[in-house]
Each structure stands twice: as structure tokens, then as C-alpha cells.
């Protein structure tokens, strides 16, 4: 439980009325509401998880909320990131989320950090806050947030989502395990698809984000049993929660008995990513083809063989005149179907999966194979405006 000095915290008449449904609950009351007002919470990411949880925490009367995001609202965000509206497309997420929170509750102080949180600034950003909520979408930032919270002794309210499944816990190394106790290392890059690649049910971050908000409020109030030492796995398809026990690992490299990590490290490198982190950036110029060049080739009747490495359900949205349709995960077992003497152009949605395919085919001895830069998205943007984008 946090131990703020409540003697300096007063609720105004307007606040008494606004929070009346809290004030009449014995578990909250005036003291609890003052605790919420005295609390400061840092929300990292204002996307799928950050949207609903920041809106509910604002409504609940958290005194000070810090928001960290450097992204811009995109149309594909609107299916789940409810802090941002159709009119916000193209605006910084920090701006639209701040507006949404202020519209819900003007009594909340919102401090924005329009930056990519990394080893150079994480300690400074996190230090002034009581609680950190992790709403990020990548392993380097997850490990960064975990480590900074362990080093600063802050609770880290964790949630993550994929398709129909979510996970939630509270990592607080002062009284239980941290994220590294559970997963000492991240998976190699590309092994686990991101939401952008794998998709996510729009309401799922709502469910997991609200669990995170609930845990945050319980920590502030000092009421109930938090998820410290417990890991919730939620399946929306089965509509089932499974609860798993977590234990502190005495050999944990950061919160164990003899920690080997005593300061923040290079998380891109730790997660096996080069700076920039994209396979497509590593390809030689001779291994790339632009959509303009491909378009020209098709018009001149010099069509290369097109290899589409997307999943079958993606082909239903849009496709080019494919010669081969082999999802990236099946490429290894179906490689014999490809003709080594043919000129191949490989593509996917954005050019990342196909870059991995090109790298793989090159290593397997294919010489005449190129990656379609920007994928079918670039084709829709630059060549065929009638093609649906996703």
C-alpha cells in the first residue's frame, strides 16, 4: 500500500459530488478517494491497453497521470484504441488521449511524455510516479519497464494481448516476482507475431486494460488481493480465466539474491534486435524491388513470378496476380514447389515477413529473388488506390 500524506489533500464540493458512488462505499470512502487523488500513475503506451485503462483511471479520480507515447493515430487503431476518435487520425496519440482524459475528468493532472521510452530516459520518467502500468507492444520496452521498476522499487501493472487471449499480473519485486522471474529471456525476433501481424480482437485490450486499472486502484487503496504472485490468462473464445502461481526466482538476474543486472542495459540488443530491428533494412539493394518498378514490369509484360507469403485469410482482403501462395511459416516445408531458375518477387502486407522469406531463400541457394518494398500496402498506396488496405 502507498503511504501518502493525506493531511494536505482536500476534496472540493465538485469532487464530492463527482465521486459520490465511491464515497458511499466502505472500501473507498473519503479516505480512499483522497488516496486516489494523492496517487500518481505512469501509463506507458496510450494504445489498446492504455486507452481504456487511462479513461477509467481518470474517471476514478487519480490525481496525476503521466502518459508516454510518441505514436500518431492511425485508422487501423480505431477498432480498439478508444481514447482516440475518427477525427484524431493523423494527430499525436498523446494529444488526443490527453484531451479525452481531460474531457472525462478535469480534476486530473495529465503530464505527457512524447518520446520513445528507452534506457537513456526511463529512470527519469518513471521515478516521480507511485505506480507504472505497462501498455506497450514489444519485448524491448517490456524488459526495460520491468528492470526500471525493479531498480526503483515500483509496482509494474502488467497486461498483454494477442488475438483472443490476454495475460495480466502485478510485478512488484519488493514483495514478489518480477517479469524476468517468469521469462528470463524474450523469444527471438519474429517468432511471436505482433498484433499488427497476428491481429487482436478489438474488445480484448478493454478487458485486460480494465483488469490493469482495477489492480492499480487496489494498490492505491490498499484493499483486496492484488495479482502479485499470480498470473491471469484470459481466453475470450472460451470465456475463461486461468490463474497460475508465480514465484520469485532466487537466481533472477535483476531481483534475485545476487543480481547481475544493476542498471539499465541495451534492450534492443538483449532482445536480439539490431537498432532499427528490421530484416527489410538489412537486405542488399539488389534484393529489393519497388512497387513502381514491379508495376512497370507488369505493364511491359515482363512479369516475375510473385510469391505471396501472407496467411490464407489475408488473401481474402487483397491480392496481386500470385504465382505462389505459401505462408511464411510453411516456406521451409514447401520450398521444393518454387522454381530456382525463375525470377521471384516475394511480398506480404508491409514487406517484413517477405524480407525474412527472401533472406531464407537466399540462404537456401536461390539467386534471383527480391523483396517487394512496403508490400501490398505500398502497392495500394502508390499503384492501386481501389485496393483495400488493412
Amino acid at each position: 500500500m502507498l503511504n501518502p500524506d493525506l493531511s494536505t489533500i482536500d476534496l472540493s464540493l465538485a469532487e464530492f459530488e463527482r465521486y459520490s458512488r465511491h464515497l458511499i462505499m466502505p472500501e473507498v470512502g473519503v479516505e480512499g478517494q483522497k488516496r486516489l487523488k494523492a496517487a500518481s500513475v505512469l501509463i506507458i503506451g496510450t494504445g489498446g491497453l492504455g486507452s481504456p485503462l487511462s479513461m477509467y483511471l481518470a474517471a476514478a479520480g487519480i490525481g496525476r497521470m503521466g502518459l508516454v507515447d510518441f505514436d500518431v493515430v492511425d485508422t487501423t487503431n480505431l477498432q480498439r484504441q478508444i481514447a482516440h476518435t475518427t477525427a484524431d487520425v493523423g494527430r499525436p496519440k498523446l494529444e488526443s488521449a490527453t484531451e479525452t482524459i481531460r474531457a472525462i475528468n478535469p480534476h486530473v493532472q495529465v503530464d505527457g511524455y512524447e518520446t520513445l521510452i528507452d534506457s537513456s530516459n526511463a529512470m527519469e520518467i518513471i521515478e516521480p510516479y507511485d505506480i507504472v502500468i505497462d501498455g506497450t507492444d514489444n519485448f524491448p520496452t517490456r524488459y526495460l519497464v520491468n528492470d526500471a521498476c525493479v531498480l526503483l522499487g515500483k509496482p509494474n501493472v502488467y497486461g498483454s494481448i494477442f488475438r483472443f487471449e490476454g495475460q495480466a499480473s502485478v510485478f512488484d519485486a519488493t514483495q514478489g516476482p518480477c517479469y524476468r522471474c517468469l521469462y528470463p529471456e524474450p523469444p527471438p525476433p519474429g517468432l511471436v507475431p505482433s498484433c499488427a501481424e497476428g491481429g487482436v480482437l478489438g474488445i480484448l485490450p478493454g478487458i485486460i486494460g480494465i483488469i490493469q486499472a482495477t489492480e492499480c486502484i487496489k494498490i492505491i487503496l490498499g484493499k483486496g488481493n492484488t495479482l502479485v504472485g499470480r498470473f491471469l490468462v484470459f481466453s475470450a473464445l472460451e470465456m475463461k480465466f486461468r490463474e497460475l502461481k508465480l514465484r520469485k526466482d532466487p537466481a533472477c538476474p535483476i531481483c534475485g539474491e545476487n543480481p547481475s543486472i544493476t542498471g539499465l542495459i541495451d534492450y534492443q540488443q538483449f532482445c536480439g534486435l539490431d537498432r532499427g530491428g528490421k530484416t527489410s533494412d538489412l537486405l542488399d539493394p539488389s534484393e529489393r524491388i519497388s512497387v513502381a518498378e514491379l508495376h512497370e514490369r507488369l505493364r511491359n509484360g515482363r512479369k516475375p513470378a510473385l510469391v505471396d507469403v501472407r496467411e490464407p485469410h489475408e488473401l481474402q482482403i487483397s491480392r496481386l496476380d500470385n504465382d505462389y501462395e505459401i505462408p511464411l511459416g510453411n516456406l521451409e516445408t514447401h520450398i521444393h514447389e518454387l522454381d530456382r531458375d525463375q525470377e521471384l518477387v516475394v511480398y506480404c502486407r508491409s514487406g517484413e515477413r517477405s524480407a525474412k522469406a527472401v533472406k531464407f531463400l537466399k540462404e537456401a541457394g536461390f539467386s534471383n529473388v527480391r523483396n517487394l518494398v512496403g508490400g501490398i500496402l505500398a502497392w495500394a498506396n502508390e499503384v492501386d488506390p481501389e485496393m483495400p488496405k488493412y
Binding site: F139, F162, R163, P184, P187, K245
Partner: protein, 92 residues
């Protein structure tokens, strides 16, 4: 005896899209072996080449992480369930 293994969404593509798989084995490691024999593509996502469980995957017998169990604690009885829980980063 029927033991159910829960296969997480992220790994179902390597298990013919199955969300659960029933095994008859009497011990956790034997059960995982049964699973990866049926779905060989799953094996490299769970185990290293020398057969150790990978650092970014946890397996729970009921609600206990099998890394904290040994000997008889790993024996299975009717109604037990095994959950594979990989690290997932998505949040936006």
C-alpha cells in the same frame, strides 16, 4: 486417464490450430513429448536442441510452474491440466 494440454493462440499454427490436446501420459515431460510427437513443428518452439524448456515459455501443471516441481510432483492424475504459457508482448 485423460489429461488436457492447453495450447496458446500464438502456438496453435504449429499444432494444426488445435486449442487443446488430450494425452494419456502419466508424467508431465512424457505428456509434452506425446504432444510434440503428434505435432513435430511445435517442438522447436518449446524446447532447445538439447531438450531444455525454452526461457520464453512456461509450462504449468494445474497452477504450478513445472520449473518448481520435481519427481513425484510431476506425475499426472485424472483431471489434471497442463497449460503452455509463452511470453506475449502485444498491447497496442
Amino acid at each position: 486417464m485423460a489429461i488436457e494440454i492447453h495450447i496458446p493462440t500464438a502456438l496453435r499454427q504449429y499444432a494444426d490450430q488445435n486449442s487443446t490436446f488430450e494425452v494419456g501420459a502419466g508424467e508431465v515431460h512424457a505428456a509434452l513429448n506425446e504432444l510434440t510427437t503428434r505435432f513435430p513443428k511445435l517442438r522447436p518452439h518449446l524446447f532447445t536442441e538439447d531438450g531444455k524448456l525454452r526461457n520464453f515459455v512456461n509450462v504449468f501443471l494445474n497452477d504450478e510452474n513445472i520449473r518448481h516441481l520435481s519427481g513425484d510432483e510431476l506425475k499426472l492424475k485424472d483431471g489434471d491440466s497442463i497449460s503452455i504459457v509463452p511470453a506475449v508482448a502485444g498491447g497496442r
